[in-house]
């Protein structure tokens, strides 16, 4: 350990005895899936961290080019497994727009309610996993307890617990009932009481603060050069949220805030996500109050033909901006479907962000990005 305080200037031309390579992953618990980070180390310090991708790549974009576009629907739930509904949402909304399909109001409300519930479970998972990465075992037990409540609600209506395929072009496949509304309201009440537990256990925890404050600071300039979005961007004080900036569905009808941080460090990203849970609760509350009656699925022709040309649709997924970019040559099979996933651009800052850090700080900075690797290896 006495060699830890070394000259940290990267790329010195003096041969260095203490340089070595360390493989973090592809099975390391804190890489959350099969990601490998090849670390060039100098003692305890990271000189050059390079993520190595592709261990679980499924070539979703190729699959999309080979079947009727409706048959791709289940694939959309298998990229970001922690928050699949926004992926459903972006995909159906793209086709609704180009094919000019009106979605019944009730369906849009159900979409917003379930998407926001999904965002909350994603943040639950993240808070637990982030703290676990940093050696705190207890918080994940609490957040998973809360997460289970929502997963049960979502399971009732979608039929699955994780890789949802619930939205359809023109609406959703199953209506929500009084039981759903009741259980969701009960969850909102419960979750608000639980924030106190989170704050006592995590937010004010001196070890957590010391491990995350000032660690992994992302500037506006850096964010723009890499295309960082989502809570990672908002932690740096930039109030960019697709739900507000590029409104879709019925989001403009609800009163909610976009929480932002001030310092752009890992701690601010935690605060942003914690506050986003409350903001999602506010959206759900208002949506339940205003929930209109009526059909939950529009009459849609069974054979929908796409118009020729390209079109794009962006939604705010739990990790940031998700964009589907479709190129169609007519017919019912996409000619090209580019899926822009938020974690991909967010992770790409890692080499610049974590250069010169202590290894333990890299774990905190990387954890604060809320990576879902199957989304990157889509």
């Amino acid at each position: 350990m006495e060699t830890a305080q070394q000259n940290l200037e990267p790329a010195t031309d003096i041969p260095h005895d203490n340089r070595y390579y360390l493989n973090m992953g592809p099975q390391h618990p804190s890489t959350h899936g099969v990601l490998r980070v090849l670390l060039e180390m100098d003692g305890e310090y990271v000189i050059d961290p390079q993520p190595v991708l592709g261990y679980g790549h499924r070539m979703q974009e190729k699959m999309a080019e080979h079947k009727n576009w409706m048959a791709f629907m289940p694939n959309t739930g298998r990229m970001d497994y922690a928050a699949a509904l926004p992926y459903n949402h972006g995909y159906v909304a793209l086709f609704e727009r180009i094919c000019g399909i009106e979605v019944p109001a009730r369906a849009e409300y159900i979409r917003v309610i379930t998407s926001e519930l999904n965002r909350i479970v994603s943040h639950h998972l993240w808070i637990g996993a982030m703290l676990l990465d940093m050696g705190a075992f207890t918080p994940i037990l609490y957040t998973f307890d809360d997460r289970e409540q929502v997963l049960d609600i979502l399971e009732d209506v979608t039929g699955s617990r994780l890789t949802y395929c619930y939205f359809r072009v023109g609406g959703v496949c199953k209506d929500i009932d009084d039981n759903f509304v009741e259980k969701t309201r009960a969850f909102i009440k419960r979750q608000r009481e639980r924030f106190d537990v989170y704050n006592k256990l995590v937010t004010g925890n001196i070890i957590f603060i010391k491990r995350t404050e000032g660690v992994g600071v992302i500037s506006l300039d850096m964010a723009r050069r890499y295309g960082v979005t989502g809570p990672v961007l908002r932690g740096s004080g930039i109030a960019y949220d697709v739900r507000k900036n590029e409104p879709y569905s019925v989001y403009p009808k609800f009163d909610f805030d976009i929480p932002t941080g001030q310092n752009g460090d890992s701690y601010d990203r935690y605060l942003v996500r914690l506050e986003e849970i409350e903001q999602s609760l506010r959206i759900i509350e208002q949506a339940l109050d205003q929930l209109p009656d009526g059909p939950f699925l529009a009459k849609v022709p069974k054979k929908l033909k796409m118009p020729t040309g390209d079109s794009s649709f962006a939604v705010e997924a739990a990790r940031g901006e998700l964009t589907y970019y479709l190129v169609s040559g007519g017919g019912d099979i996409p000619y090209r479907l580019k899926i822009r996933v938020p974690s991909y651009s967010n992770l790409s800052v890692l080499p610049e962000l974590c250069q010169g850090m202590l290894l333990s700080d890299l774990v905190a900075a990387m954890g604060s990005m809320d990576l879902v690797i199957p989304e990157i290896d889509r």
Binding site: G54, N245, E246, T308, T323, V327, S345
Partner: protein, 170 residues
């Protein structure tokens, strides 16, 4: 139009870059631009100066040559634009990864999937594919299903080819 967007349009037209305004309600973005590969870097520099961020870089295999698609958007106003650049006869195109560092991975991925060479990219090694699959180029079309560039361009609703619209509802 937002003042910053107006500034962007002015800056681009000063460089005599032609922007086609699109109907956002139909296509989800505001401007489309076709550009020569030689002017790509100058365009990217302009995007950085106009405070746009890089959404993605992707490929599109059409006849006669692969097109590279770039999408840019803004953090503070509603402005999204799509840029198309055709690769040269050697399947090569300049890199923008020194201007938008986020393009680094997108370009490596596009090289993996299409075999496009990004000139002066600092580290053009496989990102997604395994080293032994370096020549797989999985997203290339074959001669049966490749379409002409013009056949996948947007046409207005009136120009759409006639389809037999049966009242086939459920």
């Amino acid at each position: 139009m937002h003042p910053a967007t107006e500034k962007l349009v002015t800056a681009l037209s000063e460089q005599s870059i032609v922007l086609n305004e699109c109907d956002y309600a139909e296509r989800g973005y505001h401007f489309e631009i076709d550009l020569d590969a030689g002017r790509l870097r100058e365009f990217a520099q302009c995007m950085l100066e106009q405070e746009m961020y890089l959404v993605f870089v992707g490929g599109l295999h059409v006849d006669p040559a692969i097109e590279i698609i770039y999408q840019f958007a803004s953090y503070d106003r509603l402005c999204r634009l799509v840029l198309r650049v055709v690769v040269d006869s050697n399947n090569a195109i300049p890199t923008i990864s020194d201007i938008f560092q986020g393009a680094d991975w997108h370009e490596r991925e596009t090289r993996d999937f299409y075999g496009v060479i990004f000139i002066d990219h600092p580290n053009l090694v496989p990102l997604i594919l395994a080293e032994e699959d370096v020549d797989l180029k999985p997203l290339l079309k074959n001669s049966d299903n490749i379409k002409e560039s013009a056949a996948v361009r947007w046409v207005t609703v009136e120009e759409q080819p006639e389809t037999d619209e049966k009242a086939d509802t459920d």
